[in-house]
């Protein structure tokens, strides 16, 4: 069911795609590191302010010359902090600044280890076991502030450093996030471009049984689901791994034994990821498939709403859609259940289990054996463990995104891997127009032959008509001529050249077709004729439209040929759509023109007009006509009568009438059947 090989390939290919933006990604990662570093530096600065400038004044001060740099006046003399004294200068008249509780004292001599005395105004000095009471006056606020005053520039300097770090971190953070988004979008654009290109490489056959909505789902929705992979997963996983490595290094430096103990987490994590994938891969695959089903059904329903309404089918259609929607919901709920059961919840369980293990092991040892490590180390170990679980949680929280992206990627890559042929452009000389089918046998499905041993030859400039019951294979002959499909047997030659040796795009340069069901794109009337191809001039467009009589029938359009055409030409009548697609074929001035029931939805008056124009236009080009109204094909140079994929009669109109076979039958029927019970 799930192709394991493709599964494995996915990661590799996702990373390969990332290579399209490797510069930006690398830069983003550098910025990430810098931003984190700058952020981490912040607290150090704060610590520096407190240690150096606040706590820092509590030390020994020496007398210096008045008004020396950083000196503080105290009872007429000037003092400076010991650590600010130049190294070689003499240390005179030491004083010590100490804080006891909320009070601060400036004591004579070098004093260490002080505590509050028994009475107010007394402090106790402890030194080497003996203690001594000193009576001292606490500093007033102003006095104390004067000791702080020299620190102010330092504090401001550090604050500025802090601010600088902050600004730096902000800029790097912005750069990192922006760059990652840019890379993700660029990769996505690249991927979509590749898929869209692939669409044009695939054989027409690929689209025969594939709803358009499903293809759309792959090109847009599935690629969109991969975006997360590049924006979140990549950044989070990379930074988490970096953090984890850092913590492990610290742990091993702390104590190898503890480091090893914490390393148990790594195999757990690997097994976890592996199990998670196994549990969710099929759900994810199903969810993506269901989404594409939903898209297909949305598309089909939107196209079919008029019919659904006319047939009173709204409720059942809704029920069918609800079923799909519900299946999608169920899949997601199942996934959610797995995610809730794992994710940070399970990470929490592991973290607390580690704590239990730590308490149990060390608690037991503390009761029975000499302790292995100091308690300071133990505190640090618990702290590191706690920190270690932050990146771990981050990683496991990304698993859901990762798996969804992978399931989507599989679908995208699947489409990309379909065998196809690169379109080959570049012009080839115009055909004279000799078309020859040489014992052509063809089947769409490899079982039922739709064409059996079909042979005929059309001379340049001739008009060949194909007639026959519906489903007799008329359109299939055209499909082969256009190389939409290739025959299983026989050869098709144009000007004596096997068309298999000509690239389809080059071949089609000189072929023109009016398809049985005309398709109009969103745009304007004129655009739909020229398809935006610069080889087709505006004058040609207008001429072609005039040739098919559209100037008369579409005269009412307020914007003329620049009238907007909506999706599928929905505001035009069926005949008008067909006329426009007819004009399209003429505007491309093909050497071989194919009309596949091109006038089925057009009234015979207009058809006559087209025919008059065609009699001029047909000159110099080989024309194939498929039509049910035999009047349309009467003047053909060669009429081929098809029946169940075989040519059963051939000749001109007169010959075939004289022959008195199938053609004559059809012909008589058409001319005689009305008004009553037919012939």
């Amino acid at each position: 069911m799930i192709d394991l090989n493709a599964e494995k390939q996915v990661n590799k290919r996702l990373v390969e795609y990332a290579a399209h933006a490797k510069g930006a990604i690398a830069l983003a990662i550098v910025m990430l590191v810098l931003a984190v570093a700058a952020q981490l530096a912040g607290p150090f600065v704060a610590k520096a302010i407190i240690n150096r400038h606040i706590m820092g004044i509590q030390q020994v001060w020496y007398e210096v010359t008045p008004r020396a740099g950083g000196a503080v006046e105290w009872e007429g003399k000037w003092y400076v902090r010991a650590d600010r004294m130049p190294a070689q200068s003499k240390r005179l008249n030491p004083h010590t600044l100490v804080a006891v509780g909320t009070r601060t004292y400036f004591l004579d001599g070098v004093v260490s280890h002080v505590a509050r005395g028994n009475e107010a105004g007394q402090i106790r000095e402890q030194e080497g076991g003996r203690s001594q009471l000193i009576t001292a006056r606490p500093l007033t606020r102003q006095q104390l502030f004067s000791f702080y005053r020299p620190e102010i520039p330092g504090v401001i300097r550090l604050a500025l450093v802090y601010f600088g770090l902050l600004a730096g971190a902000a800029i790097f953070l912005y750069g990192q996030q922006y760059l990652l988004q840019v890379s993700a979008n660029r990769i996505l654009q690249r991927m979509r471009k590749d898929v869209f290109h692939q669409i044009h490489r695939l054989p027409i056959r690929y689209f025969d049984n594939l709803p358009a909505g499903k293809v759309v789902s792959r090109i847009t929705n599935d690629t969109e689901a991969i975006r997360d992979f590049y924006v979140n997963v990549l950044a989070n996983v990379l930074s988490s791994i970096a953090t984890m490595v850092g913590i492990y290094v610290a742990l091993f430096i702390l104590n190898v034994w503890l480091g090893l103990m914490a390393s148990i987490l790594i195999p757990i994590l690997i097994v976890w990821i592996w199990l998670y994938r196994r549990a969710t891969v099929s759900v994810n695959v199903r969810i993506r498939a269901l989404l594409s089903e939903i898209n297909a059904m949305l598309n089909e329903t939107i196209q079919g709403v008029p019919i659904i309404r006319a047939f009173h089918r709204e409720q059942r259609t809704q029920a069918e859609f609800d079923e799909l929607n519900q299946a999608y919901y169920d899949g997601q709920t199942r996934l959610l259940r797995v995610n809730s059961a794992t994710g940070f919840n399970l990470a929490g369980v592991f973290r607390n289990s580690f704590f239990i293990a730590v308490i149990a092991i060390f608690g037991w040892r503390s009761m029975h054996l000499e302790s292995l490590v100091s308690f300071g180390v133990l505190y640090a170990f618990v702290d590191y463990l706690n920190r270690l679980f932050q990146p771990v949680t981050q990683v496991v929280n990304q698993l859901a995104n990762l798996e969804q992206a992978r399931a989507s990627a599989v679908r995208v890559f699947e489409l990309l891997d379909e065998p196809g042929v690169d379109p080959v452009f570049g012009s080839i000389p115009r055909f004279c127009g000799e078309v020859e089918f040489d014992h052509v046998t063809f089947s769409y499905d490899g079982e039922h032959n739709v064409l059996k041993n079909v042979s005929f030859r059309a001379q340049p400039g001739q008009t060949v008509a194909l007639v026959g019951h519906t489903g007799s294979g008329k359109s299939s002959i055209i499909n082969l001529l256009f190389r939409f499909y290739d025959p299983q047997g026989g050869q098709i030659r144009i000007d004596g050249v096997d068309i298999r040796t000509i690239a389809p795009q080059q071949l089609r340069q000189h072929l023109g077709i009016v398809l049985q069901d005309p398709y109009l794109f969103t745009g304007t009337v004129a655009w739909n004729v020229s398809l935006g191809d610069e080889r087709v001039s505006r004058a040609r467009v207008e001429q072609a439209l005039r040739d098919v009589g559209a100037d008369r029938l579409l005269a009412h359009l307020p914007n003329g040929w620049d009238e907007p055409v909506l999706e599928g030409g929905s505001t035009l009548s069926a005949g008008e759509r067909q006329l426009i697609s007819f004009a399209r074929a003429l505007a491309f001035d093909p050497a071989i023109l194919v009309l596949d029931e091109a006038t089925a939805s057009i009234d015979s008056e207009t058809e006559r007009l087209i025919q008059d124009a065609l009699s001029v236009l047909k000159r110099g080009r080989t024309t194939f006509i498929i039509a049910h109204r035999l009047s349309t094909i009467r003047d053909a140079d060669l009429i081929l009568v098809l029946d169940a994929g075989e040519i059963v009669e051939r000749g001109t109109h007169d010959e075939l009438i004289r022959l008195g076979g199938k053609y004559r039958q059809m012909y008589e029927l058409q001319t005689n059947m009305a008004p009553a019970s037919g012939a």
Partner: protein
Amino acid sequence: MFQVLWKLRWFFWQQRKRYAIAVGLLLFLNFVEVAPPDIVGRAIDLMNQRGMTAGTLWDLVGALALVIVISYTCGFTWQYQLYGGARVLELSLRKRLMRHFLQMTPRFFEQNRTGDLMARSTNDLNAVSQTAGFGILTLIDSTTYSATILVTMGSLDGWRLTLLSLVPMPFIALAMTKYGKMLHERFTLAQDAFGDMNDRVLETIAGIRVVRAYAQEKHEEERFAATMADVYRKNIAVARIDALFDPTISMLVGITYLIGLGYGTYLVFQSQLTIGQLTSFNVYLGMLIWPMLAFGQLINIMQRGNASLDRVNETLAYKPDVVDPPTTVAVDRPEEIRFEHLTFRYPTSDRDNLSDIELVIRRGETLGIVGRTGSGKSTLLRQLLREYPPSQTGALTIGGVRIEQIAMDIVHGWLGYVPQNPMLFSRSVRDNVRFGRHDATDAEVLEALRLADFVKDLERLPNGLDTLVGERGISLSGGQKQRIALARALLVDPEILILDDAMSAVDARTEAHIIESIRSVRQGRTTLIASHRMSAVAHADWIVVMDDGRIAEEGTFADLMAQGGWYAQQYERQQAYGEEALDDSDAIALAEERG
């Protein structure tokens, strides 16, 4: 900023139990979560003091184990409930969208493109559902967490300092409001662009044969590249704002920290604060960064959700063009269809597409409609489908009641409609045929197919009635599709059968067969046929010739032939070639027969 939550209030109210459970557990867990570090700390202290006994060890381990069980079950439950809510929202909005589409008439689909509607039903719903899951989580987390910190800070270190350090908070709020607004705008554009892209792809696939036949692959790729460049540009515009959130917040929180530190230091210098207090204050300030970042993320999610919800609501807000009136008139049987000076124009048209149509079709009659391309045949027939709001001038009545006063279900129940371009659905031939009556037996299906002269084709289909057709099935020829569409309409055995040029791709012999069969089964019921083959309507009780939205000629076949107008000319032209092949006597005999 939180309009999206307000707009979704119906949902939260509907799911109130789920959200109460989720939020309650979430808050409860915040308290449970502080236990493990505390327990571990206590354990280490005990070891340190050599006070650990087997009993206390068991107690501590037991307490931790209890915490594990509680936090896992609660954690699982809230996560499942909260994110489950997001999924329910997605499910019900998508359901609503579909229900909405099914009520819509062509006007709506002219204004909205299919690809974009698809994008709204998938891509946008994704963003909306985020607000109901992750959005709520960040909302709860960021608010409770920051409130806790602020309260702790205030009570421990004095309100003055706390309030002072809050000075930048309004700036954060201001920045978030501004970014939020910009994000909303840009994200809307990006989602629009996604819809456009969806549409481009859909059109390319739907028109793939045209693209191939005219070797337009390169142009298509170029155009798609332009569309993608647009998508890229708009997403980058979003990213520009998106990437601003975190840096701005960490910058502003950093400034707060700096102010706190600076002022705190000053207070220490002034002996108003102890160093210990300053340190703990700083620790708390440092902790504030996380909920603030979460706050930014919250705004981000809310605005994205809001933008997408607006797009979805925009679609849902479209009022159906055609609705039943509050009181409908019951009509048992469509006795008589009467056009009374009906004038109609499509909403996008700037001229009347039908003018002053005066026509009566009695029950059981067959009406033939012919006329040039674009003359209004389909428009006339589609009046019965009620796809557009009723026309202001003139009326269409059925059994003496204006059609817009009859319940739409009733009208649709009478109709069998074969559209001009037959559309089949992705299902088996059988299911396509019984589209309008899903309980039909195989015998009925086969009978309908026989009437549509499809039986011979059926034999050639790989799986007979079970053959898949439509988008994912085998490709049928144009005539085959038309005949299945015909069988689909015939199966419901409708009171009124509408054939809109339903056999244009069918050869004449087959058409003659079909017309013959239809006539035999449609005795006593109304049939409306539009066609380009004059012969196909020759048997009708009444024939109208449309020209530029008006009835140019009307009458029975004989009348029209006698008039020698457009109908007669076209009829003769289509028959013209016959006279050469047959000898004159036959032609005269035929003409007499017709007369």
